[in-house]
Amino acid sequence: MSETKNIYKPIRAKLLEVITESPTIKTFVMEPEEAFSFKTGEFIELTVDGIGEAPFTPSSSPLETKQIEVTVMKTGYVTEYLHNMKAGETLGIRGPFGRGYPVERFYDKEVLILGGGCGFAPIRSLLYNLAAISDKLKKVTLCYGAKTPDECIYRPYVDQLRNTPKFEVHRTVDDPDETWTENVGVATVLLDKININIKDSIAVCCGPPIMMKFGTQKLLEMGYPDHDIYLSMEKNMSCGLGKCGHCMMGKYFVCKEGPVFTYDEIKDQPDIWS
């Protein structure tokens, strides 16, 4: 019998470091034991041994091949265990899966990125990628919203971005505290403040479903055509391989044909925002 690769078997990855980003968000820096690379926006299935598996889009640069990072909000069973893990322990990785951001299609354009909450994780990976090819882009504008200043993650990286030519960062929180000096309100309010040439740009939107819904509506109102709005969809997933059926969104297997779709591709499918 010919040897068929076992698509269900994770490769092992050593946990090098756990970074606390906020009270509920941590970043896990891992070193896979076998060669592993991904394109920005593709996702991995991360296994906590004997406990369970969950899908995450890496938050690290796709150009970095030795280490891989995921940023995880504590939301359920698997992430709870994950949050209790320490450097030196071993995790399992399967993937990369799916279709990421078609970065080549952003060439010579302005890129508007609308992100919310833990949606910053995949966006950071995208930003690393865009920064590396910034000579091919006109401009990158990030509009990011979180609930509280506490949840505004990746602070050092945001500072670094603010000093990067062609990059612009706008942030907002729902619930400000006395230290907060930036915008207040939901992420979409930032879209009224920016200066962008829509004809010459594409938009990327990634965040909690409710933000994606209102974000997309707003982008459409601003004049973005359906096919220029890129959405990173979140669905229940198990296999990541287009087989188990859990991630079905109408005719799509989100794990295989997504998770990144243009609004045009999915607008006629049911329950895209839940």
Partner: protein, 339 residues
């Protein structure tokens, strides 16, 4: 195809010789075939004693064929012993065609499922033509004949004291070679092939006659899309989310990976009819409400899968109708909405 090859593809032998050959094949293969139990006809592991009890040319056994390739539970990572070579005898064409969509999913070139592939490679499928029908059979309405021409390796018809074997694949050809080493086997005479074809077309006509006004597979998708919320509420009102309709369905293949220590993964068959199937960690659940969940199975089979796969996602076997404890009959829904 010309007549000569047609003739070459049909072989026959006496039932007594067939049974002796099967007994010999038991040395190399595990063999499964339908036999009658207290209250049902279902596949059994065949040993020498069981051989005369095998029932040929009947409609579907209780268990769908998929179970041989996707067991209810299966460890996908531990190096278990390689599956032995198998022969499955007596599968009707509805179930054979149901394998089509499983093949598209599990043998998808992008990600070949090694466990499924090994089982598929090591199994010889001997389908048998249906010479009778059951109450809910409606294969013909969905464009599936009650006899196999594709996917299976052999199509078997037992007529009087003879067994006729039509070769459908290379594996089938190989099977015939093995038989020839064990027993006397000859080409089926033209007249006997005609007799079989006559029996087959009688059954085709009967299934059509038994299902007057039932919308065909080209129409079912439109009907599902058109059905109102009231329809979904009405038909799901007796559904208890037991998942029997999906478990018993030859084309429902959804599963969940369950983790075991040492990074092992166990595949466990799952169904969209169980609550929580699509629930995400954040709590959102698109299929949280019963009518919505119930409706999902129809959209999956008649609207979405047909947009994606060549093979049918419903074979018209009727098992879901028989299995439902809520007495829900999908064909009543189709008839009501069509009118």
């Amino acid at each position: 195809m010309n007549d000569v090859t047609d003739m070459k593809n049909y072989y026959s032998l006496l039932i007594s010789d067939w049974e002796k050959a099967i007994a010999q094949l038991l040395e190399d293969y595990s063999i499964y075939a339908p036999i009658e139990n207290s209250d049902s006809i279902d596949y059994e592991f065949i040993d020498t004693e069981h051989i005369p009890e095998i029932i040929y040319n009947i409609p579907k056994p209780t268990t769908p064929l998929k179970t041989f390739f996707l067991p209810v539970k299966e460890n996908l990572t531990s190096q278990g012993k390689l599956n032995s070579k198998r022969i499955i005898i007596g599968t009707p064409n509805c179930d054979i065609q149901g394998l089509g969509i499983l093949d598209e999913i599990y043998l998808d070139k992008d990600y070949i499922d090694h466990a499924y592939k090994t089982k598929r490679d090591k199994t010889i499928l001997i389908s048998s033509s249906c010479f009778e029908t059951q109450e809910h059979c409606h294969c013909m309405i969905y464009g599936i004949n009650p006899y196999a021409k594709t996917i299976a390796d052999i199509s078997l018809s037992r007529v009087d004291q003879k067994v006729h074997l039509e070769v459908l694949s290379d594996k089938g050809e190989y099977f015939i070679q093995q038989l020839k080493d064990k027993t006397a086997i000859s080409n089926s005479p033209e007249s006997e092939i005609k007799d079989i074809e006559l029996k087959q077309s009688k059954i085709e006509n009967q299934i059509i006659a038994d299902n007057p006004g039932l919308p065909d597979y080209k129409k079912t998708g439109k009907i599902v899309e058109k059905a109102s919320d009231e329809i979904w509420k009405k038909y799901s009102s007796t559904c208890v989310s037991c998942g029997a309709c999906a478990t018993i369905c030859p084309t429902c293949t959804c599963f969940l990976l369950v983790d075991k220590p040492n990074f092992e993964k166990v595949r466990q068959l799952d169904a969209c009819q169980y609550p929580g199937f699509e629930r995400v960690a954040g709590g959102e659940d698109a299929l949280g409400a019963l009518p919505r969940r119930f409706q999902n199975r129809y959209f999956c089979k008649y609207v979405w899968k047909p947009q994606k796969f060549k093979s049918l996602a419903c074979t018209g076997c009727g098992r879901c109708i028989e299995a439902c404890i809520g007495k829900i009959n999908k064909n009543e829904l189709f008839r009501e909405v069509a009118n």
